[in-house]
């Protein structure tokens, strides 16, 4: 019976993909602009999505410059009755209450789930409060950090709420994290996740960040023209802002895109820029927490009023690939004496746990064939390893279609009994 239903539903899912109505077919535009309001899923505007703080490492002392980063901040939306719980893991550099996680929280809360939303391990607050080493981007170690956080949050909630089962999902790097968290759960067995959904995950972290790093080179005249590019962009936005009657609303980016006639290269440059801004904050936090000596001299203690402009300029001129080569690898080298740099970095990949993913029926994938963070051909990894458990939409870029009504329904159905079993 379950099999039969699954077959029907998966056929239905394929049909949906074929007549896919998400309106933006350009992968870069989709990534930046997201889903125009009229195509968004109808979700409750306000849910009891509350911010919480938790002390993960009570004995940790942070350098004064990061004095505010001691407690991990997360969010939760809890049902009053017995319900399944879902953990949401945010994508690279994103917070527990960023736009995408908030939207997912609305969808899952509406569908009757207890929702616990956690920032990405690459979010500075996670680096300072919840990463054991402070040097993030390591598949297994990030999963251990996340697992610890989930266990501690659950210890708090256990008395408060009635839970019928556990699930986990995440988008982008958060999807990648969810796969390794699920793997870890097979050994630790605290949650025994019923279902796991990976949304637009990378295959190889290094491949994806290399792609994102290179996007900044699309700036007309190269990265050194970043300033000029940036100013022009702000001027363009200002023109549209001026013509709008209301303040910046949900569709501002969409309107801006229509009005500004930006080219793909400019969108790519914008994506690269935004990636660099968030990775800059992360790398600096890692450097301060671990006192590695990447951009801040080792041993130098910065106080909370320190002028950090120089460090900010410096980290924004460095790529995330630089972090992996010159910080991450040297930092962990001693633990892996038998591996070369390339072996070590390329091992941060879903291919490493392909057998587990292939045989684990509870893990699903929702992806886009035109995702900009995948190398050509990498999408086939999902088709090959997950088979029917992967739904690949024809377009949507990187997470651009996450708020589209069909995709939201797909996410929710995955956990409420729909999807191939």
């Amino acid at each position: 019976m379950a099999c039969w239903c699954g077959w029907l539903l998966s056929t239905a899912a394929f049909a949906t993909v074929e007549n896919y109505g998400y309106p933006i077919t350009d992968r870069f535009v989709a990534t930046v602009v997201g889903t125009p309001v009229e195509y968004e899923a109808d979700l409750p505007k306000s849910i009891p999505f509350k911010k919480r703080r938790i002390d993960i490492f009570p004995d940790r002392t942070l350098p004064d410059v990061l004095w505010y980063g001691h407690e991990l901040i997360y969010s939760e939306a809890l049902q009053k009755h017995k319900a399944p719980l879902i953990f949401l893991i945010a994508g690279t550099g994103a917070a527990h209450n960023g736009g995408k996680n908030t939207n997912m929280a609305r969808a899952f809360y509406q569908a009757g789930f207890h929702v616990v939303s956690i920032s990405s391990p690459t979010y500075p607050n996670f680096v300072t409060a919840a990463s054991k080493t402070g040097v993030v981007g390591h598949a297994e170690k990030d999963a251990q950090d996340l697992y610890r956080v989930m266990e501690m949050i659950w210890a708090r909630l256990d008395e408060k709420i009635d839970v019928s089962g556990f699930n986990v999902t995440g988008y982008s790097l958060g999807g990648f994290n969810a796969a390794f968290v699920s793997k870890l759960d097979e050994e630790r067995k605290v949650f025994n996740f019923e279902r796991v959904l990976l949304i637009n995950p990378p295959v190889s972290i290094y491949n994806s960040i290399s792609l994102l790093d290179r996007m900044i080179e699309n700036i007309p005249g190269g990265p050194d023209n970043f300033e000029k590019f940036f100013k022009e962009l702000v001027e363009g936005f200002s023109k549209i802002y001026k013509e709008q009657d209301d303040a910046i609303g949900g569709d501002f980016l969409y309107k801006a895109y229509k009005a500004m006639d930006l080219q793909d290269e400019q969108f790519a440059a914008l994506i690269g820029t935004s990636f660099r801004l968030s990775s800059g904050s992360l790398v600096f936090a890692s450097d301060v927490v671990s006192d590695f000596g990447y951009v801040k001299p080792k041993g130098l203690v910065l106080d909370r009023y320190a002028d950090l402009t120089e460090y900010q300029i410096l980290v924004h001129r460095l790529g995330f690939t630089d972090y992996y080569h010159e910080f991450f690898y040297p930092y962990y080298r001693e633990e892996y004496p038998d591996k070369s740099r390339d072996e070590f970095i390329s091992a941060i990949s879903l291919t490493k746990i392909a057998d587990y993913l292939r045989n684990s029926e509870k893990i699903m994938v929702m992806h886009n064939a035109d995702d900009i963070i995948l190398e050509p051909g990498e999408i086939d990894f999902f088709r090959d390893v997950f088979g029917d458990r992967a739904t690949i939409y024809p377009h949507g870029g990187h997470c651009g279609n996450m708020n589209y009504k069909d995709n939201v329904a797909h996410m929710v159905n995955t956990f409420t009994g729909g999807g191939a079993r």
Partner: protein, 250 residues
């Protein structure tokens, strides 16, 4: 009298912060091993970041920023939480509309000063409709009728006539600003207090002012240091200054 009290408190806070600045620890001359990447090797000479904002008072500003966080944490946000607990949503909306009506008045005055007839008529229309049909501003009828809501203040008026932003300034209790906008608060405040003194009895002046600040804070989702980024101060500074540039251009 009230105005003097407010000014005096602000100056006192400023003086305390300045004193804290001058007694800060001096950097100790010490040599460190060179980090993997240094500014000298990576950043071209004479490089000016686009995110740069003129901030000669950075030391003081960062301290006020930090002070505002603590004020938020121990006074402002607890009061806002209490306000949200005690007052039901419809009452809070009423309060917010009421003060927004005052803010529209500010736009009216500044539209005259900017010789901007469209904005003047839009804001005047709002004030007239909301003060009458909207029961003294408690109901925002104008927005329901799709009246546009331009927002102008004296800082923007100065900007309109070509005055630059001047040095970045973090104002105690209030947050990001700059010399021009900070100065602009005074005339706006003066006009508002004239109306307030007209509308409310003497004993209500301070409670109304306090309610105004609580309403303002309750509607600003920003929380200090929650981005977790060590560069938050710079990011807020850039966002504020860019936003104000756009506001003036609008």
């Amino acid at each position: 009298m009230i105005r003097q009290t407010v000014l005096r408190t602000s100056f006192l806070a400023l003086a305390l912060l300045l004193a804290a600045c001058s007694s800060g620890p001096q950097p100790q001359p010490q040599t460190f091993q060179e980090p993997v990447f240094t500014t000298e090797r990576i950043v071209p000479e004479g490089f000016e970041p686009a995110s740069g904002v003129y901030d000669p008072w950075e030391g003081m500003n960062r301290r006020i920023y930090n002070f505002n966080y603590h004020f938020d944490q121990w006074v402002f946000l607890p009061v806002v939480r209490g306000y949200k607990t005690v007052m039901p949503q419809f009452a809070r909306t009423g309060v917010h509309n009421f003060f927004n009506n005052f803010r529209d008045l500010r736009t009216m005055v500044n539209s005259i000063l900017q010789l901007a007839p469209a904005k003047f008529f839009q804001s005047t229309g709002r004030v007239l409709v909301n003060s009458t049909v909207g029961v003294l501003g408690l109901v925002d009828v104008a927005t329901k009728l799709d009246f546009p809501r331009p927002q102008e203040d004296f800082g923007q008026t100065l900007g309109h006539w070509g005055v630059g932003q001047g040095p970045y300034l973090v104002i105690p209790f209030m947050g990001p600003s700059n010399l021009r906008d900070g100065f602009g608060l005074l005339p706006d405040y003066y006009v508002q207090s004239l109306v307030r003194e007209e509308v409310f009895s003497d004993s209500l002046q301070i409670p109304v002012m306090l309610l105004d600040s609580v309403d303002t804070r309750a509607n600003v989702p920003f929380r200090y240091y929650e981005t977790g980024s060590a560069f938050e101060y710079q990011m807020v500074r850039w966002l504020y200054s860019t936003k104000r540039k756009l506001d003036v251009a609008k």
